[in-house]
Structures are given as structure tokens and as C-alpha cells.
């Protein structure tokens, strides 16, 4: 595929593919196509039965769909993972240090490392939480870092997700399905388990509690409700961890403390893992027109009587305009060069960058600085002339809202499609947890795959699927 690196087969012309994964190549060659399809359908039937569905915004019949699952795993070796995890740890440490600084002393601005206006006039910077002191100075307890790959050792951070990253249930359910449907692959490879994620998440929640909560903090997961596209994940995590799943109406704030209403009376809540955007957390402090939210929650949070995971205001760290400064941010707080590089980024707010972008639209990916889910973006190489010209007008009207990046030759992984097994582009989102004694990772993540031939957009809302991500305990197959 335009010379893209295939994570199993290597570069085009590499012959038999990467030797360390030879058993997988052989498995793919010998497995009858009908059997692969049968297993894939069995996995999808399982997901449908579990109710792992999502709704697509902007579609007339808001059908509950399942995200397509692909039966062919992607594989990372122990060495590759070691480097990735060091890079992730460094980056997420810096994200938390940045958040604590930007809502506190703002040293990074005083030292001239990022423009003051870019950080503070950013709509994701929330003056409402200035002066808040979350326990252990942790703001982004759960980060999803989106990585892409262009070669054997070339991983890039495409995007940081420091608000309420979703998708971890797919990491866990995809593994369940693979263990059940393709047990032989787990004989071939020593795959590191991911099922400790939920325990680690529970521990992260408990350890985020205010000191006043004592030894056994009450933790809940706050969902906007069953119509939310990620509701399955909210209920899955609450069930697995064994904490209450609550909606805003189940909580009330009294005397600057948060209480959960139950049939036997009210219970004080110490930690809220919220899957609701900042805007809808508390109508008294954020959007007054919001009918959602828990009135007084921010007062309880500011008073230090409840912890919120992730803390309100973390969006300023994953904004795409801030993203372009992440290498400087990492260097500033960690004192060393970033292990994982950024994708080169042109900030269209800067006249020269805008000119470059306008001159090269057909080669670039242009994104909204505050967009997500693959909406409002242009992928130059796969867009028509008319689409490009339409986007050009939008970009000229509001350049400050956009950044541009080169179209990378994203790596591919063999994927089962209608024509058989064919390479499809992938990305990778590991979930990085932060506890008082440091960053915690399970060896795994969410691999998203663009099912359309040549497509680079992996978002589920844009027709992407998922596949399991094997992280090996060693450098290749057991049998090689």
C-alpha cells in the first residue's frame, strides 16, 4: 500500500515477512477463509449479545451499531513495548505536570516555553478550576495516547486524550474474544495479559481519593446516561470493578460534600470517575443552561471533599494547538528529550504555516484544534478537488481553528476484508493510568483499523474497526 510498512509482513519486497511473526503468517495462509469468517462472525455475535454498541452522531436512524471486529491481531514485541511504555510514561508525567503548573504557578509561561495567549485564551483552559488542588497533583489520571507507526522503530504521537478517553472496553473484550476463538495463537505467542486493567483502574480511583476519605473510599462512575455512545463501556467498567454506575440525578451536593442517593439512604462519595464533559458537570459553575450535571459539584471539588477523574480542565493539555508544543512541554518538565516524537504540525494561526498549508492542501491532513472523532477534518490525498476547495474557504475564514499535518504512510496490519486478507492502516491507543507513585500501564491498548482500502481514518464514527493488540513477553513467536 504505497510502500507502507506492514507490521507483520514488513516493507513491500521484504519477502516472507518479519521472521519473528512467521507462525502468524503461516496461520493466515493455512486457515481456510471460511473458518476465519466464521470466527469473526462469532466474535461479532458475542459483542452484539453483550451490547457493545455505539451510536453514530448525525445519522437519521441512530441505529445502535457494533464496531466491526477484525480477527487478525496486531503484534508488538517486548522490545517495542518497552520503548513505547517509557515514552508514554514520560509524556503522561509531563501532561500532569503541565496541568498542575498551568492551573497554578504558570512557570512554563513565565519561562516563555509556550505562548500565554494560546494556553489561557484556549476555551479548554477553565478559569473555574484555577487554584484547585487535586490530591497528589494528579489531574489526568487516565490518558489515552494515540500512536501511529511508519516503520519498525518509528512510532509517533498523533494525539493526546486527557479528558475522558473511551475504548478501553474494546481492548478487554477483543482479548476475550481472541482467547475464546483463536486459542492456538496464544500457544504460538506468549501474549501479556491485559485483564489486570480493571483492577489497576479501581486502584487508581481509590488512590485518587482525598486524604479525608479514609481507608475505604467510595468510588462511582458517572455516566450521562444510556443514550451516550459509550454507555456500554461505562456500565461494563462499573460492573467489572464493582462500583456504582450513577447518573447526575443520583448525586447531590450538600455541605460541600457529594452524596449518592440510594434506597437505604444517602452515601458519601469520595471519588467520581466521570464520563461527562466539563461543560455538563455542574450547571452552577459551567454551562448554566445545562440540565445535566450535579449542582455544587465544583464547590465540593474545590473544597477538597471529592476527587474527580479526570479533573475538570484537563482538556487544555490535549488541545491540538497545545499538542504542537508537547515536545517542549515534555522537555520542560521531564528534563529530557521526548522518547516519542510528535507528528510535524503546522499551526494555521501562524501566517507562514497557513500559507504552507494552503499551498499543500492536497498532501496534508487538516484538523480542527478542538475537534475529535474524525469530524471537521480534511484528508488531502483522498479528497476530491471540490472537497479541497470547500475546505480551503473554511480554513481561510478561521485559520486559528486549524492545524495541518503531513499524511503519514501509516503502518498496516493484515486484516480480513471482503477480498480476503489484505493490509489495512492502523493506529494504537494505549491507556495510561497515573497513581501517586507514578504512571501505570497494562501491556496493551486499542488498535483501530481503517477497513476501507487506503483509508487513513480509523475512527469508529467513520467506519473504522478494532483488532486485538498482542504485546509479547519476548521477541517473537514461541516456536521460532
Amino acid at each position: 500500500m504505497n510502500g507502507a510498512f506492514d507490521e507483520i509482513r514488513g516493507f513491500p519486497g521484504d519477502g516472507a515477512g518479519r521472521p519473528e511473526f512467521a507462525p502468524l503468517t503461516k496461520w493466515l495462509e493455512t486457515m481456510p477463509r471460511a473458518e476465519l469468517e466464521r470466527r469473526q462472525q462469532a466474535a461479532e455475535a458475542m459483542f452484539r449479545q453483550l451490547g457493545i454498541t455505539f451510536a453514530v452522531y448525525g445519522e437519521a436512524e441512530a441505529d445502535e451499531r457494533i464496531i466491526p471486529f477484525d480477527i487478525v491481531p496486531r503484534i508488538l514485541t517486548a522490545r517495542e513495548w518497552t520503548r513505547l511504555s517509557a515514552g508514554l510514561e514520560q509524556r503522561v508525567f509531563a501532561i500532569n505536570a503541565f496541568l498542575d503548573d498551568i492551573y497554578g504557578a504558570r512557570r512554563i509561561i513565565a519561562d516563555g516555553k509556550i505562548p500565554e495567549e494560546l494556553a489561557l485564551c484556549n476555551p479548554q483552559f477553565r478559569p473555574e478550576v484555577v487554584g484547585a488542588h487535586p490530591p497528589h497533583n494528579i489531574w489526568a489520571h487516565i490518558c489515552g495516547i494515540d500512536l501511529v507507526r511508519t516503520g519498525p522503530d518509528d512510532f509517533w504521537v498523533l494525539e493526546d486524550n486527557a479528558r475522558t478517553p473511551s475504548g478501553v472496553s474494546y481492548m478487554l473484550e477483543d482479548r476475550e474474544a481472541m482467547i475464546r476463538l483463536c486459542p492456538e495463537l496464544f500457544q504460538m505467542f506468549r501474549v501479556m495479559p491485559v485483564d489486570s486493567y480493571t483492577d489497576l483502574l479501581h486502584q487508581t480511583m481509590q488512590r485518587a481519593a482525598p486524604v479525608s476519605a479514609g481507608g475505604n473510599p467510595v468510588c462511582v462512575i458517572l455516566t450521562p446516561g444510556h443514550y451516550n455512545s459509550a454507555y456500554y463501556e461505562h456500565s461494563f467498567l462499573a460492573d467489572t470493578i464493582g462500583v456504582e454506575l450513577v447518573e447526575p440525578a443520583d448525586l447531590e451536593v450538600d455541605d460541600d460534600r457529594v452524596w449518592m442517593r440510594t434506597i437505604t439512604g444517602r452515601v458519601k462519595v469520595d471519588v467520581i470517575y466521570r464520563r461527562i464533559d466539563d461543560d455538563f458537570l455542574d450547571p452552577l459553575f459551567f454551562r448554566p443552561d445545562s440540565l445535566l450535571g450535579v449542582p455544587g459539584l465544583l464547590a465540593a471539588y474545590r473544597a477538597g471533599h471529592v476527587s474527580i477523574i479526570n479533573a475538570p480542565g484537563t482538556g487544555v493539555a490535549d488541545d491540538k494547538a497545545i499538542y504542537s508544543y508537547m515536545p517542549d512541554i515534555v522537555r520542560y518538565y521531564s528534563g529530557s528529550d521526548p522518547i516519542l516524537p510528535n507528528v510535524e504540525t503546522w499551526r494555521c494561526r501562524e501566517p507562514q504555516a497557513l500559507q504552507y498549508t494552503l499551498d499543500n492542501l492536497e498532501k496534508l491532513v487538516v484538523k480542527l484544534v478542538d475537534g475529535s472523532g474524525g469530524y471537521g477534518m480534511l484528508v488531502g490525498p483522498t479528497s476530491s478537488k471540490a472537497e479541497i476547495e470547500k475546505f480551503r474557504a473554511v480554513l481561510i475564514a478561521e485559520p486559528h481553528r486549524y492545524i495541518a499535518q503531513p499524511t503519514l504512510a501509516l503502518s498496516t496490519v493484515p486484516t480480513l476484508v471482503e477480498q480476503g486478507v489484505a493490509p489495512r492502516h492502523v493506529d494504537f491507543r494505549p491507556y495510561v493510568l497515573t497513581q501517586p507513585d507514578g504512571v501505570k500501564l497494562v501491556p496493551g491498548g486499542l488498535t483501530r483499523v481503517a477497513l476501507k482500502e487506503g483509508s487513513l481514518v480509523v475512527n469508529s464514527s467513520q467506519g473504522g474497526g478494532t483488532k486485538d493488540s498482542f504485546i509479547l513477553a519476548d521477541e517473537g513467536a514461541v516456536s521460532c
Binding site: 485564551c121 487554584g131 455541605d255 452552577l284
Partner: protein, 271 residues
């Protein structure tokens, strides 16, 4: 000057409410131009009051009322001594740098009419301080003042287009204009002994502060066409009226609410 304030807010509900939660930003703080002598917040029903600060450094008070309750009356009373001053504000609590206050909000975002007004009025004025002064006077002359409280959620652009403004509207138009002119500006809520609402007792006062580089924050009152002096008691600041509003609340229960506000600002010691 000694100024006494008695600010009563009464909510009456057509049906009993299970709970009422309110956020008050009604407590002033000492600064270079005022000393708060005595201040109290009282509620006429079973309630818990919790004092804190918000992100802008304002003193906030959370009010938690148990139901069933069919009315809540909040009485804020206090006295401050104010001083005549010239030049920029001193001694105010500053948690955020001025650049934040360049940020336009949904309520302040200027439209073309405001932008044109700004370039027409002060396009040729180089000094930032003069620009702010010029805008303040021009808006005072342009906007007809409407007494009393403004309808909720009117944006600066809407108020400017109608040419008639409450004190809140005037302040937001001034903020929109100042920011459009490149000057950080913020909303101030407080009290004024000789403000436009002082005779009808229907509302407190609000005005604007504009930041001038290397000098500091200066007060401007576009509803009076002047700069605040010793007849003013400064209470809370924010990006716009919504995040510095004296009182916002939520209730759990049906029916409608009726709001009655009485503000008495007087010189000298309260009775």
C-alpha cells in the same frame, strides 16, 4: 466614605421544592480602595452555608437548603469604607493574568456592528488608557440606559443593536468593545451609592475593569459614563455577567419561581 448595603433576594416557589442549591458571589474583599468592616449572609430557612473561593479569586458561598421549602430569602448585609483613589486598582486578589480577559465569551462576542463602532471611536487613539476612556464615554452616550434588571442571556451584540441597555448589558458591550480593541476587560459586580438603580432598589450595580499594560486594571462604568470612585463597593469579577453573577441557583421540584430583589445602598452607618 462609609457605605452600608442591604441586599435581599427572595425566591418564592409555586410548589414546594425538595432541595435548593445556590452559589452566591456576594461578599466583597478588602483592596486598596475599600475595607470591608462587617459582612453577613443570612437565610430564613434551614440551610448550610459554605464559604470558598472561585477560580477568579472571588469569595463564593454555597447555600444548601433542605426541602420541602416554598421560599428562600437571603439577606446580605454589610458595611464598607471606601477611599477616593486615582490610577490603577491596588490590592485586589488576582489569580489570573490579564491576557485571559481578552477571551470573548458567548455573551461578549462582538459582531460587526460592535467592531465597526470600536474602530470608528478609537481606531486613531494610540494610548490604551485613552482608548478605554474613549470607548466608555462613547458607549455611555450611545446606549440608552434601561432601569432595573435585564432580561436574561442578552448578548452584548443584541444589546448594542437595540441601543438600549441595562447596567449589565452596558458592561458586557464595553467588555466586547474593549477586547475587540485588544484590551483585556472583565465584568465587575458590586454596589454603587449613586448608581442608576439606587432609587428603584431593584438591583445591584455592575461595571467593567480594563487592563492597561505596565499600569494595571482601571475601572470604567459605561452606564454612568465615568470611572468608579469612592461611591462604589467592588464584589466579584468574571469574564462576563454569567460567571460573576451575585446569585445563581438550582432547585429540585416543579412549578415556577418568582424572584424579588431589594437593594438598599446608603451612606453612613446602617440602622
Amino acid at each position: 466614605m462609609r457605605i452600608s448595603i442591604d441586599h435581599r433576594t427572595r425566591y418564592t416557589f409555586s410548589e414546594p421544592q425538595a432541595r435548593v442549591v445556590q452559589l452566591l458571589r456576594m461578599t466583597p474583599q478588602d483592596d486598596g480602595a475599600q475595607s470591608v468592616i462587617d459582612w453577613s449572609i443570612d437565610v430564613d430557612c434551614d440551610a448550610r452555608l459554605r464559604r470558598g473561593t472561585d477560580g477568579y479569586g472571588n469569595i463564593s458561598t454555597m447555600l444548601y437548603v433542605d426541602g420541602p421549602v416554598d421560599h428562600v430569602e437571603i439577606v446580605v448585609r454589610g458595611e464598607a469604607v471606601t477611599y477616593a483613589h486615582a490610577g490603577p486598582l491596588t490590592g485586589t486578589v488576582e489569580t489570573l493574568p490579564p491576557v485571559l480577559f481578552l477571551r470573548q465569551t458567548g455573551l461578549t462576542r462582538p459582531d460587526e456592528a460592535i467592531r465597526n463602532f470600536v474602530s470608528g471611536v478609537c481606531g486613531a487613539v494610540a494610548s490604551p488608557q485613552r482608548r478605554a476612556e474613549t470607548l466608555n464615554i462613547a458607549l455611555f452616550e450611545r446606549l440608552g440606559l434601561r432601569a432595573g434588571r435585564s432580561p436574561k442571556a442578552r448578548t452584548a451584540a443584541e444589546a448594542f443593536a437595540q441601543g438600549e441597555a441595562s447596567t449589565r448589558d452596558a458592561a458586557q458591550v464595553m467588555i466586547a468593545a474593549a477586547r475587540a480593541a485588544g484590551l483585556p476587560a472583565r465584568f465587575v459586580s458590586g454596589h454603587c451609592l449613586d448608581g442608576p438603580n439606587v432609587r428603584n432598589h431593584r438591583s445591584a450595580h455592575c461595571w467593567v475593569e480594563v487592563h492597561v499594560e505596565d499600569l494595571g486594571w482601571f475601572g470604567f462604568d459605561p452606564s454612568m459614563g465615568r470611572q468608579p470612585g469612592e461611591t462604589y463597593v467592588r464584589v466579584a469579577i468574571g469574564l462576563d455577567a454569567s460567571d460573576s453573577t451575585p446569585l445563581s441557583g438550582t432547585r429540585m421540584g416543579g412549578g415556577i419561581e418568582e424572584l424579588d430583589v431589594a437593594v438598599h445602598v446608603e451612606a453612613g452607618q446602617s440602622q
